[in-house]
């Protein structure tokens, strides 16, 4: 049977190049603060991780020269942006657009796995728990950013909508419009 052609967008080269030179420590600090905000607003996400709440996850956007190391720490998460991987329990790899689409509920994790757009390594149970917990949390990452941007929230929302429209990457949670 033929597959519908809905290719997952890849990151623009410029972003990959920028990340090669950008200092990563401030990025890690901001992402940690951001993830703690998410933890505060979505406590269910970390509860759902259950026994996997103390595992270390590597999220690897394969089209970028960095990986994210997530320590959920039972609801006080820490995120590190790294150029190289570090010891971990589970690793989830795929194009950034696939990972963001997964977070926003636009893509189905198993479908991404069947199509080989998503690769899981290490502790499969931990990776599954994270995926299921994130799917239930109904996150909207762009909205979370806008919420802490004070007077810049409105223009920021506009810019995000523009980027989303042009790139086909799910930066927000589509209401009732899953891609597949």
């Amino acid at each position: 049977m033929s597959q519908p052609s809905t290719p997952i967008p890849t990151c623009p080269r410029a972003l990959a190049q920028l990340l090669r030179v950008l200092p990563l420590a401030p990025l890690s600090l901001s992402l940690t603060a951001y993830s703690r905000r998410i933890a505060k607003h979505h406590p269910g996400l970390f509860r759902r991780l259950g026994v996997y709440g103390d595992r270390r996850f590597i999220l690897d956007p394969t089209d970028l020269p960095i990986v994210l190391c997530l320590d959920p720490k039972g609801g006080r998460p820490r995120v590190q942006v790294l150029r190289q991987t570090t010891p971990h329990d589970a690793r989830i790899s795929g194009p950034l657009a696939a990972l963001l689409g997964l977070v926003h509920g636009a893509y189905d994790g198993d479908a991404l796995f069947f199509s080989r757009d998503l690769v899981i390594a290490g502790d499969t149970g931990a990776a599954l728990a994270l995926r299921n917990a994130v799917d239930d949390a109904e996150l909207n990452l762009a909205q979370e950013i806008a919420a802490i941007s004070g007077p810049f929230a409105r223009p920021l929302r506009k810019i995000i909508a523009r980027i989303e429209q042009h790139s086909g990457v799910f930066l927000t949670r589509p209401d009732d419009a899953p891609a597949w």
Partner: protein, 327 residues
């Protein structure tokens, strides 16, 4: 008559997505060994179940609670408590497989509607009528080993409603009896609610070739860029004698969409979608697709063509035993 769409929900978000997408009924389970999808990060705690049922009822949908594993001797309390909690939460029915649990539910919760799980593998009218007479079972979920004429023959001989799977992962053995997962991992869907438990699954990328291991056994190797299947033994690729191939079943998903008119004629009441382990994105798309199909059928319109290949295991689909001859 509009056939009832019975839709899976592994999380409260998936339940809401299913209801919004038009599911008449949603089935789900508690986050423990009492249900056959006891996966990490999945299922409902007690308060989520109460809220989910209230949400579904407020939108005119029903909720069935699957308590369809087989209790271990001496530990029945966990299963008994699950039935009582589902009843108090307002469940429209519980889906049970074990005869002892059915007896307990019939005795202790006489006004709770009982459905017979596919895990009971009730595949003929005699045994279905027995469950109805002895325990008051109102509906049976038929195993995925029957052809459409066999389903019609069963319906002709029983007053019990029948529910059949129309989409999702295929369990190809007599359900509730398959020991393949136990053999490789010590855990099974029947006793622990997990076939091929994630804790025993290992993936290795070998130069683009995906190696899937279950309990240390390599069960298939997927070529670079080829669609990957679930790591279940029944879909494994084995060598026997001179031949290498999928011994039990190809890694494909069930899609009986095209058979819905025949299933209606065969007297089927409800169409079940597999996939409590799937995301709300899957749920919304599959439910929307099947709801549109049954609505079109009820109104005498041509059924819309679905676009569900991408969501299917191995990205390939089959009509399963409904139209199948066994190897």
């Amino acid at each position: 008559m509009v056939m009832e769409i019975v839709c899976p929900a592994g999380t409260p978000a998936a339940l809401r997505a299913a209801v919004k997408a038009g599911a008449h009924t949603v089935y789900c389970g508690f986050n423990d060994e009492t249900n056959a999808r006891n996966f990490p990060g999945l299922n409902f705690d007690r308060s989520e179940m109460r809220a989910g049922i209230a949400f579904a009822h407020a939108h005119g949908a029903k909720v069935l609670v699957a308590i369809n594993t087989f209790p271990r001797a001496g530990e029945q309390t966990l299963w008994h408590r699950a039935i009582a909690d589902a009843h108090h939460a307002g469940a429209d029915a519980v889906i049970l497989a074990d005869a002892g649990l059915l007896a307990h539910a019939a005795r202790m919760h006489p006004d709770l509607r009982l459905h017979l799980s596919v895990q009971a593998a009730a595949a003929n009218a005699d045994i279905i009528n027995y469950y109805a007479e002895v325990f008051g079972v109102k509906r049976v979920v038929l195993p995925r080993v029957l052809s459409v004429p066999e389903i019609a023959a069963i319906n002709a001989e029983t007053g019990v409603e029948t529910e059949v799977f129309v989409f999702g992962g295929l369990c190809v053995m007599a359900e509730g009896r398959c020991s393949l997962s136990s053999y490789a991992t010590g855990l099974s869907p029947n006793m622990n609610g997990v076939c091929s438990p994630a804790s025993h699954v290992d993936y290795h990328d070998d130069g683009g070739v995906l190696d899937a291991r279950l309990g240390g056994y390599t069960i298939h190797r997927t070529a670079k860029n080829a669609p990957a299947p679930y790591p279940t033994l029944c879909k494994g690729c084995f060598s026997a004698g001179e031949k290498t191939g999928h011994l039990f079943e190809d890694p494909v998903s069930l899609n009986a969409e095209a058979l819905i008119p025949q299933l209606l004629k065969a007297g089927v009441t409800a169409l079940k979608i597999e996939g409590r382990q799937r995301s709300k994105s899957y749920v919304a798309q599959v439910v929307g697709n099947f709801r549109a199909a049954v609505d079109a059928l009820a109104e005498g319109r041509p059924m819309p063509k679905g676009m569900l290949t991408r969501l299917s295991e191995g990205q390939a689909m089959t009509t399963g035993a409904y139209r199948k001859t066994w190897r």
